[in-house]
């Protein structure tokens, strides 16, 4: 049995004004608006019911305002277009007339009615009446709400010190905000520090990056934590508490970077910065331009063991006594208001493509290794030597798309490798014009500013671009030269080319620790594994979690220019929040009803944003408004109706169901659509004038996760013919992954229906994006057959089975 909470705030008698809009002929061409208005007048609590040619016009709005004043209206219903279009407009109208904006409700009789049922005016008019009836029913139960205001801490955290992180930090710091930068490695700089030149301008990479790195090091507003990791993030937009683990470097500030210690150290290991092509000592500095420019000891290699001490050569060598083996890891707590995630990406490991022989053949190298070899500061002082005999190669090949665009590697295009190869081939030609260069490609992608020009230069320089990827690379056992065998697909000929050096253009992959970052910040990731933006077009740098922004390769593979652009955008977005100093949160968050609550903790478990804190011992439930996104999943999960989901309350939704099932329920489909995808998709069907049967009635919720099983059961109990639950595609959910809860609930209900011998086809689940109007229409057409085979006994059985829900 539902436990009906008392609605303490509804004390006054509802006085509702209903306005039915013609929208020129857009609505009136199909729906008889006068008839609908007359019908509305007969509904309980309706004091005023009018139709108007253009309700959203100034005149229309004035009419509403006057009626509010003159007729003492305290609820307004407008039946017109989609609330996604004009809800804000009418909410403002109400406010201007002194009515709380949450006392407004809309019935969508254009996109969901007149535009999609052109040929059945009668049915469209009946449907419009039903929709108005539901809106009035909900309006009767609406409550005025006050939006919460949350203060924003004016400090920012940037994680990742690659070029994206550097840019975001500098922009924020220059604006005047305090910025903390956390970098995992001993130095900032990221991938760009390793690259020799950059396309398309052929600038020296470190020459343009080093000044920025040193700015970060010296900026009074920036506090830099290298060799550090974020361990824990708590809080919400504007008020994050972040724990950072600062690992010891074992070198004090006294260090003057003289290199004496490193020279004395007996232990050497492959150098990460040179991708293993050179060595470093156990005490080292990652590279010459490193920031901070101090040294660090790799304790995994170092021979100095605590308490035993078998080596102290560096201590002896260091005149400034900057070495301190007693340093301990520190945990630092930072309070910040906004966060920029710029953790970058990794290059993919081609070892698994055994037909290319990487690691088996010394003369097969990756593009990143190439960058180090061609770099004047690299292990071969800028001489492109091949590893087997350290000679300058005469023939070189690049193989494109290694690990990208395939079923065996990553499915996506890595975005930078084509241009990187063009750049690399020109670099070789610049130094050694006689070297013969082949590029084996699938498609050459040169889409950016200046890219085509660079590509043309490479062609002019004589680089041979051959379409068709090699099937294999085989080493000639006598010479260590490589045979590259493939098909030139444009010539339809097999090539077998003997080469001195083969460079694999490896792709870009999400960082291995993306999982951890995702969990820390409750981010989402696309199927590719990169972090997902809040909206791919209109909010490309906002993370779905409020107050968190994305920049650089962490979001998708991109080049330096795009990384920097995105970083500046992220800094600007974070800056806007901090400049405002506060945010208002839409009053659609839940309020716990403690009398009903049994402290079961289910709500907290399903909340995608960790916005509910349930303390079993203190028997308290607390919703953090600022963190809550208002999806309503918790409300749907709660068995005891102990969460009052503001503006989408259980009672409001039930009243809508009641209104829609008042007449001929068994011929109708009750559809619950999420605001972002399914509802928007139905709007799109309207805009595209896609026609479908008029017996569907759509109820809007913010997320399909709001749809509690009891709503569906209630609809069946009321005799509804069929129920459709529609939300975003898995992975596209606007509330991270709340739609998985939807799926789980629907699946459970299917089982229950089967048990109760209720036709399971009567409940359907659909994933549809905002662009998939046709998909929604098709589903509704399909569902007609379910209604067609429905017998009165069947309806009755369901009514009985779910009675009282």
């Amino acid at each position: 049995m539902p436990i009906l909470p008392a609605d303490p705030e509804i004390t006054e008698e509802a006085r509702i004004g209903v306005y039915v809009c013609h929208c020129g002929l857009n609505i009136a061409g199909t729906v008889n608006c006068e008839e609908v208005a007359e019908f509305a007048a007969t509904l309980p609590h309706v004091v005023v019911a009018k139709d108007h040619r253009y309700t959203c016009s100034d005149q229309g709005q004035e009419l509403i305002k006057n009626d509010i004043k003159n007729s003492d209206l305290n609820r307004i219903v407008v039946a017109s277009c989609s609330p996604r279009l004009h809800e804000l407009t009418f909410r403002k109208t109400c406010e201007e007339a002194g009515l709380n904006k949450y006392l407004f409700e809309m019935a969508n009789i254009r996109e969901h009615c007149s535009w999609v049922h052109h040929h059945d005016k009668e049915a469209a008019t009946e449907k419009a009446k039903d929709l108005v009836r539901a809106a009035v029913a909900k309006a009767t139960l609406l409550e005025s709400e006050i939006e919460t205001v949350v203060p924003i801490n004016r400090k920012a955290l940037v994680i990742g010190g690659g070029v994206a992180g550097i840019q975001a930090a500098l922009d924020l710091a220059d604006t005047g905000y305090k910025v903390f930068v956390v970098e995992k490695q001993p130095s900032i700089g990221g991938r760009m520090a390793q690259i020799d030149k950059t396309f398309p301008t052929m600038d020296c990479s470190i020459c343009i990056l080093a000044p920025k790195m040193s700015d970060v090091g010296h900026h009074p507003n920036i506090e830099l934590y290298t060799n550090s990791e974020v361990q824990e993030v708590k809080g919400y937009i504007g008020n994050f508490t972040v724990k950072v683990l600062k690992k010891p470097r074992y070198i004090t500030d006294e260090c003057s970077a003289c290199n004496d210690c490193s020279e004395a150290c007996p232990i050497a290991a492959p150098n990460e910065f040179d991708v293993g092509l050179a060595t470093r000592k156990a005490i080292f500095t990652p590279f010459a331009q490193a920031v901070p420019s101090t040294y660090i000891i790799d304790r995994d290699l170092c021979l100095n063991e605590e308490g035993i001490m078998t080596c102290d050569k560096c201590i002896e060598a260091c005149e400034r006594q900057a070495i301190d083996f007693d340093m301990k890891p520190e945990t630092i707590e930072l309070q910040v208001g906004t966060i920029v995630v710029a953790t970058g990406a990794e290059v993919s490991d081609p070892t698994r493509f055994t037909n290319y022989g990487y690691t088996r053949y010394p003369n097969v190298i990756t593009s990143l290794e190439f960058e180090r070899l061609i770099n004047a500061g690299g292990p071969s002082s800028g001489n492109l030597v091949r590893p087997s005999d350290m000679k300058i190669p005469k023939t070189v090949a690049f193989i494109q798309c290694v690990g990208s665009r395939s079923k065996k590697g990553n499915p996506y295009c890595s975005n930078v490798c084509c241009m990187n190869t063009v750049k690399d081939s020109l670099l070789i030609k610049e130094h050694w014009p006689d070297v013969k260069i082949y590029v084996f490609y699938l498609d050459m992608r040169a889409f950016g500013k200046g890219f085509e020009d660079l590509y043309r230069r490479a062609k002019e320089a004589g680089v041979m671009f051959i379409r068709g990827l090699p099937a294999e690379v085989v080493e000639d056992p006598k010479t260590h030269n490589l045979w590259v065998i493939g098909e030139n697909t444009l010539q339809k000929e097999i090539y077998k080319i003997n080469l001195d050096l083969v460079i694999l253009s490896v792709g870009i992959e999400p960082c291995k620790d993306s999982d951890a970052i995702q969990r820390l910040f409750t981010l989402s990731r696309t199927s590719d594994g990169f972090f997902m933006e809040a909206h791919p077009k209109l909010k490309p740098v906002d993370a779905p979690t409020g107050g968190v922004f994305l920049a650089g390769c962490a979001e998708s593979p991109k080049d330096i220019k795009d990384s920097v652009t995105q970083a500046s955008a992220a800094a600007a977005r974070a800056g806007i929040l901090m400049a405002q100093g506060k945010v208002t949160v839409e009053a659609i968050t839940p309020k716990p009803i403690l009398e009903n609550c049994r402290i079961c903790g289910m709500c907290a478990q399903v909340c995608p944003y960790n916005a509910i804190v349930v303390d079993k011992e203190a028997k308290s439930v607390q919703v953090i408004d600022a963190a809550c996104a208002g999806c309503g999943t918790c409300g749907a999960e709660c068995q005891f109706e102990a969460l009052h989901m503001r503006h989408f309350t259980d009672n409001q939704i039930r009243s809508q169901i009641d209104a829609l099932t008042e007449e001929d329920a068994d011929t109708k489909i009750i559809a619950f659509c999420c605001n972002w995808c399914a509802y928007a998709g139905a709007d799109f069907a309207g805009v595209s004038r896609i026609q479908y049967p008029p017996n569907v009635r759509i109820i809007r919720t913010m997320c399909s996760g709001r749809v509690s099983s009891t709503f569906i059961e209630h609809a069946f109990a009321r005799g509804a013919g069929a129920v459709l639950v529609a939300g975003c595609h898995p992975g596209d959910c606007h509330y991270i992954d709340a739609n998985y809860q939807t799926q789980r609930r629907v699946e459970r209900l299917w089982k229950k229906m089967a048990r109760l011998d209720v036709d399971t086809d009567r409940l359907q689940l659909l994933w549809a994006s905002a662009a998939e109007g046709e998909r929604i229409a098709t589903k509704i057409r399909e569902m007609q057959s379910v209604l067609a085979k429905l017998k009165p006994e069947g309806v009755e059985k369901a009514t009985k089975a779910f009675e009282g829900r």
Partner: protein, 517 residues
Amino acid sequence: MTLLKRSNSASDLYVCKVLYRRDRLYSRRTKKPLTIVLGREARMESPLIPQEIREKTKYCFECGVCTASCPMAELLSPQYNPRSVLQQILEDPDRALKSEGLWLCAWCYKCYKRCPQGLKLPEILHTAKQEVAKRGFDASFEKAVSIIEKHIPFPILCWYTCFHPERTGIPNDKIVAMKEKLAGRPKKGKKPTNRQGRAAIIGSGPAGLTAACQLAERGYPVTLFEALPKIGGMLRKSMPAYRLPRKELDNEIQLLKDLGVEIRTSTEVGKDIKFDELWRCGYKVVFVAVGAHTSLKLGIEGEDLDGVIDALNFLWTAKESAKVDITERVGVIGGGNVAIDAARTALRHKAKEVVILYRRSLNEMTANPWEIGEAEKEGVRIEFQVAPKKILKKDGKVAGLECFRVELGELDETGRKRPVPIEGSEFSLQLGTVIVAIGERTETSFLPNEVERDRSNRILVNPVTMETSMTRVFAGGDAVTGPASVIEAILAGKRAAGFMEKYLNETGEREDAHLAS
């Protein structure tokens, strides 16, 4: 403006377009809209090609990896190009179904192993062939047979081991006629050995046979060394008679004798004659085609028990003697063609119950689909995603097998999912015989150290010439690739023969130091 009646589903965009182009889009005669067939998508509607194939072929990026991997493409160059056959199926199915290209695939799966999109070309082509057979366009099949006749040595052997046209539903009389045509092809007789250089060929599998044949045809004196008493290599030793009738093998091998190749069976190089002696016997070049015959070990407890046999030896004894030493309940471990052959052969002997245990899933098996199907029909049970843990013992003999189940994890280097054990999933099977068919290695201890090999003991060669790191020593077939296919071995033999000629034609003193030793 409102001349046109707007259909319910037409979008504004469509209506605008139609209004704009009305004159041209409507047929004057029928008054119906004309449709323009554009590019791929439109063509794909052709009803000739089954939906499942259409779906798959869409994802080909035309990278050319399949063609460059395909042994048939090289052997028949330029008459066969699997990539373009596949593309034709997508773009122009009517023509594709009539092209001979469909029939030229030799089922080696090499393309599948490398295709970045994981397309199973041989199976796609197979479905297309079945479609052809249904419609009776078998002129393309005839054309393919005459191409094969011209370019492929031992076409009858390949018919049985590689092409399997009878699997496609081509009428039987046509099959018989074509096979007879191949059998009756003009053969080259014995040539006077007018050329000087002598070639030694070690191993008489398809690679060795092909090289011997090619060189003999060109008039060089050739000696074929074979450790076993009869030639044919794996074809003789392990290929069950129900797959390759012995008569056919003998017939094809007769060809070699007709060409005057000196055949020395029961002569193991390294034991009966040392490798270095070959130079002293006056051979100018050596082709090593010794295959991969050492069965890999499971590396689990109980492997040395009585009742554990390796698949190759089992297949060999099963062919040579009517009696094999197996029990009624047999387990076969492995998922390739050898495992299937062993299982089916076991059923033809004493075994009543045979179960194959394979680590991965059906999709990853590289045995031909019908082999798997027929084995199952004959009563072989296949357990997927199972790996052996230890062999159980009773009275010093095999009593059973303890196994565990595995999950498929990430893709490994062969592009297949890597099996990961599931904890606590152990179970045991009661068996008297365990046949191990998990792969083979090459035995190369007889070769001098100058011949470089990799970690798996495969001989390293120049892929173009097939020459090893030691001058004048060539290698090919399974000894280079690891267990692979007949057609790849034939290609290797053909490639090597071409480049061995260079040394055979040399006149004057031998300059290489090692020849004198």
